[in-house]
């Protein structure tokens, strides 16, 4: 569906995309994950031919993507990071307007607009103007405007920014439903939980490069961390920390503000071994957590910094 090879985009001296490569298959929900400024939106804008790039190539649906490739553009739905609707048009008219940029047949469009309104759950707001909508409803309208023409490829650029949890769930469910209906989805976000929840494959971006690509399982298997154990309200000395660090499969021990964080490789019984030492030494402790690795851990191990920066 999309093939990007060695894409380079510079803004003066700043390299926004540095030999960026990506391949997305039809039917995928592909997540582009990276911190703010990692080049996600630049990559999307290059894919949509909104930006001229310095080097490389972008092929969408087997064809070179250029600003005047309207056959390809007709099959793409876009949901921009900033809400892109007309304040002067009501919900229905906004969706109808954006749908009419792709669909000329009035009757067909009428059906599609109604489908889109139902899909995002804005049935009660048909005649409402965008300024009267809450942030979540406005985002839903933004999505409806992007997907009303039932495109083969839908590109969503951070569609859940500043959205309440209820609307966020509705949006994420909707994206999965669009995928089930046959659309390929490209989803960019800096919320790793969302990407983990819905994406079939993920590319992690940093400094304009794709630093890791694969399913979430594949990405997690790339790193050393198999489990992170956190124990709160515990008082330890250096000897205790050394004993814990010497446990099998433990490769990183951190102790900050009476909080113990132990990272282990993917083996069983890590938690039991750690708690065993504490019981043996009769050390009291508070709450205990055991977490499987997240994409943040993947990002942390690969780049040495947190994804949420």
């Amino acid at each position: 569906m999309i093939k990007i090879e060695n894409l380079v985009k510079r803004y003066g001296n700043i390299v926004a995309l540095d030999h960026f490569n990506l391949e997305i298959e039809e039917g995928e929900i592909f997540g582009l994950l990276g911190p703010n400024g990692s080049g996600k939106t630049t990559a999307i804008n290059c894919m949509l031919a909104l930006l001229k790039y310095d080097r490389g190539s972008i092929r969408i649906m087997g064809r070179e993507m250029t600003p005047d490739n309207y056959d390809v553009k007709r099959q793409i739905g876009i949901v921009m990071q900033d809400v892109a609707v007309f304040d002067e048009l009501n919900v229905h008219d906004n969706i109808d307007y954006f749908c009419s940029l792709y669909i000329k047949d009035k009757n067909k469009r009428k059906e599609l607009v109604e489908d889109a309104i139902r899909f995002v759950g804005l049935e009660d707001y048909r005649k409402t103007y965008p300024k009267k909508l809450s942030g979540g409803l406005l985002r839903r309208l933004n999505i409806a405007c992007g997907i009303a023409h039932k495109p083969r490829l839908i590109i969503l650029d951070e569609p859940t920014v500043a959205v309440d949890p209820q609307s966020r769930n509705k949006i994420l469910e909707g994206i999965c439903e669009l995928n089930r209906q046959g659309s390929t989805i490209v989803y960019t976000s800096h919320y790793m939980e969302e990407v983990e929840q819905i994406c079939t494959r993920i590319a992690i971006m940093d400094h304009g490069r794709s630093i890791a690509v694969g399913t979430k399982e594949e990405l997690k298997s790339m790193i050393k961390t198999g489990e992170t154990v956190t124990i709160e309200a515990v008082i330890l000395d250096q000897e205790d920390l050394t004993d814990i660090g010497n446990l099998p499969h433990v490769f990183d021990v951190r102790y900050e503000e009476q909080r113990l964080i132990v990272r282990c490789t993917g083996a069983k019984h890590n938690l039991i071994h750690i708690l065993g030492i504490l019981q043996e030494k009769d050390i009291p402790f508070g709450r205990v957590f055991s977490e499987l690795p997240t994409l943040n851990d993947v990002f942390l191990e690969i780049t040495g910094k947190q994804l949420r920066n």
Binding site: A49, P67, Y70, R74, I78, M80, A84, D87, E88, L101
Partner: protein
């Protein structure tokens, strides 16, 4: 025609604004027209209460009484000192003239002056005296030409009944009512076009909409063409309404003036330059507060400096020179020519066409600036 329809829908959303400015325009036109009407009345002849004591029943004396009576209110008084004083005291009359027996011989053929009494300190005495002097001078001229008393009387009657239409040197006469309408038209056109086009273009530039539109399946060129077409339709609809309104209000007075096509052409040229200016404003403003400020500055500024609200003759030469760099100045110049001249003859036509042409040049200049702004922004 997706973009075209969106332009129209946004324009339709501003219909109340258009109606409000229509209302203001009509109110301003009516107000200024009424004001101009009052001013005209200041120059009509003023009637003074004149008392006449006549001792002569000859035709020349009667002719003088009729002449004074045609302008003033004449009361014949008896020659009683007390009655005369009483009438003057109570201001029943402001001026008393005594026509002596043998008026023809003594005052017209001879040099004797008429005996008059006036209320001290009033200007009306001079006013009536001037009329009487006029009459006697004309009568003396006729007498010198050999006219008899009766003939002088007849000649004065005819002269009195003859009506002369006072016209300006250019044959335009008093300013026609529709000239006021067309004088104030720039305010309406500038305000409505700048506001409507401003709101539409601001709408299309809001947030990431330009990117969203660029990524759509409608070619950018087509989007621009549809936008231009919609702007043209909106502008022509506004012009059509203004023209229709003038035809409805002034009817045959305007249509039979022989200059209606020039009024239409002039207003159309103004429309084009205002549309181009509105496009420029719409390309620059970022929010409705900014738009409101710019539109007010532009519309009121141009209207006050270019002869819409204040006549150009009343402005200093510096202001007039500066106003020449604004299209409304040339519109008003053409408008004044059309108003001043009853027929637009060969030597005036180039001036009219020149003014219209300069407005079109302004339109082209505004378009060029708008294109430069768009290019710089993109």
């Amino acid at each position: 025609m997706t973009v075209f329809k969106a332009y129209m829908k946004i324009a339709k959303k501003n219909i109340w604004l258009i109606l409000m400015y229509m209302g203001i325009f009509i109110a301003v036109t009516v107000m200024f027209q009424a004001f101009a009407g009052d001013r005209e009345r200041e120059y009509t002849a003023q009637s003074v209460s004149v008392g006449v004591i006549t001792e002569d029943r000859g035709s020349a004396a009667q002719s003088l009484i009729r002449y004074i009576g045609s302008i003033n209110e004449v009361t014949e008084l008896s020659d009683d000192r007390e009655i005369l004083q009483e009438n003057l005291f109570y201001r029943n009359v402001e001026y008393i003239v005594r026509i002596p027996d043998g008026f023809m011989e003594r005052c017209i053929l001879g040099d004797e002056k008429l005996q008059v009494t006036t209320v001290p300190g009033t200007y009306s005495g001079y006013y009536v005296e001037r009329q009487i002097t006029n009459f006697i001078n004309f009568a003396r001229t006729y007498a010198a030409a050999g006219f008899s008393e009766e003939e002088i009387s007849d000649a004065m009657e005819q002269r009195e009944s003859a009506q002369v239409e006072l016209t300006g040197q250019n044959g335009g006469g008093a300013e026609q009512a529709y000239a006021f309408y067309y004088r104030y038209l720039p305010y309406l056109i500038l305000c409505v076009l700048c506001y409507v086009m401003g709101y539409i273009l601001m709408g299309f530039r809001r947030g990431s909409l330009p990117d969203r539109m660029a990524a759509s399946a409608v070619p950018a060129r087509r989007q621009k063409l549809e936008g231009l077409l919609a702007s043209g339709v909106i502008a022509i609809a506004l012009w059509g309404i203004c023209i229709l309104l003038s035809v409805v209000i002034y009817g045959s007075e305007l249509l039979d003036s022989g200059k209606v096509h020039l009024y239409f052409a002039n207003s159309f040229a103004l429309l084009l330059s205002a549309l181009a200016l509105a496009y420029l404003v719409g390309s620059l403003v970022k929010n409705s507060d900014g738009l409101s400020g710019i539109v007010n500055i532009l519309s009121l500024g141009m209207c006050f400096t270019c002869g819409v609200f204040v006549e150009m003759d009343l402005m200093s030469s510096g202001v007039r020179k500066a106003a020449q760099f604004l299209p409304v100045y040339w519109y008003e110049t053409v408008n004044n020519l059309l108003s001043d001249y009853k027929t637009i003859s060969g030597n005036i036509m180039p001036e009219v066409m020149g003014g219209i042409g300069i407005q079109l040049v302004f339109a082209v200049a505004f378009v060029c600036v708008t294109l430069a702004v768009s290019k710089k922004r993109s």
